[in-house]
Amino acid sequence: MVMKMNVKTSLKAIEKRTYISYHQDGLIDIFVGVYVLLFGLGIFLRTLEDFSTWFVIPAIFPAVMVPIWVSAKKRITMPRIGYVKFGGRGANKLMAVFIGLLVAGLGAFMVFSFASSQGWALTVRNLIASNGMMIIGIAAFALSSLFAYTMGLNRLYAYGLLALVLFLAGRFIAFPFEYILLTIGLAVIMNGFVLLIGFIRKYPLPQGDETNVEKSL
């Protein structure tokens, strides 16, 4: 029984390590950071004055950014660490993240479109502005933790914790909502770039020898 558990744990650990190695390039961090930053910028620049239109971003963003992210993976990551196809759980995890973002965005868009049409938007806005910081902070931490657990990326816990701390601080020291989003977005993007630079240094583009050996197979 113990042996069976150890073998399963070991295979799971190898699977997890393989999955994590594929996301050590920081691209997913940059992707998430830009997502958060766009919210903050939208509010900061007052281009998204109508509350309901905030939720256009999460609805559209995955559709625009996923092809860019996939392309970056193909151009930056795969030539350096190689190509891997995760069957079953691995592939499903990543798909679940994207579908989750898309569904959450569309759902929020629909809810707030409905709220706007009913004239509730201002009430909801006021409610969130006055009392919602803690809720948003906890929700952000819960969401980050969920993705961190699902994807096995521990740094997502840190992002969630950062969001929680900033939103809680924002609640008590009246730190504006958009500044919190901008701070989180920038911090995540910066960490993403640090990881990306480290990744590029650690894995330079392979020379021709490897390719020749691969061709000989």
Binding site: K4, V7, E15, K74, K85, G87, D209, L217
Partner: protein, 103 residues
């Protein structure tokens, strides 16, 4: 199962070799991977990896799939059904041997 050390005979020696065991394990947890990915994950030299992959291919455990990704030729490696079954059997045999050992 008898508590007989001759159970060791059931161990697949082709898989039991440490480097090939690493390759089989790595390919077992993914659907497919290319040569460079395996080389990076397992920290093997190209020649070493190539030699072991050839043995696994000869045994019918590993399939080498030539495909095109965005119009570029690409070589993917994956475990065959025989390879997956052999790996599972290897796991079970090894478990049995250890569970049969006196404590």
């Amino acid at each position: 199962m008898s508590k007989n050390p001759s159970n060791l005979k059931n161990i697949d020696r082709l898989i039991h070799e440490p480097t090939r065991l690493m390759i089989m394990t790595q390919l077992y947890v993914v659907e497919s991977a290319d040569f460079l990915f395996l080389q990076n994950q397992l920290q093997l030299t190209p020649g070493n990896l190539s030699a072991h992959l050839s043995k696994l291919e000869e045994a019918g455990y590993v399939e080498i799939v030539k495909e095109f990704i965005e119009r570029k030729p690409h070589t993917a490696l994956k475990l065959t059904k025989k390879g997956r079954n052999s790996f599972k059997e290897y796991q079970q045999n090894l478990k049995q041997i250890f569970s049969d050992l006196p404590k």
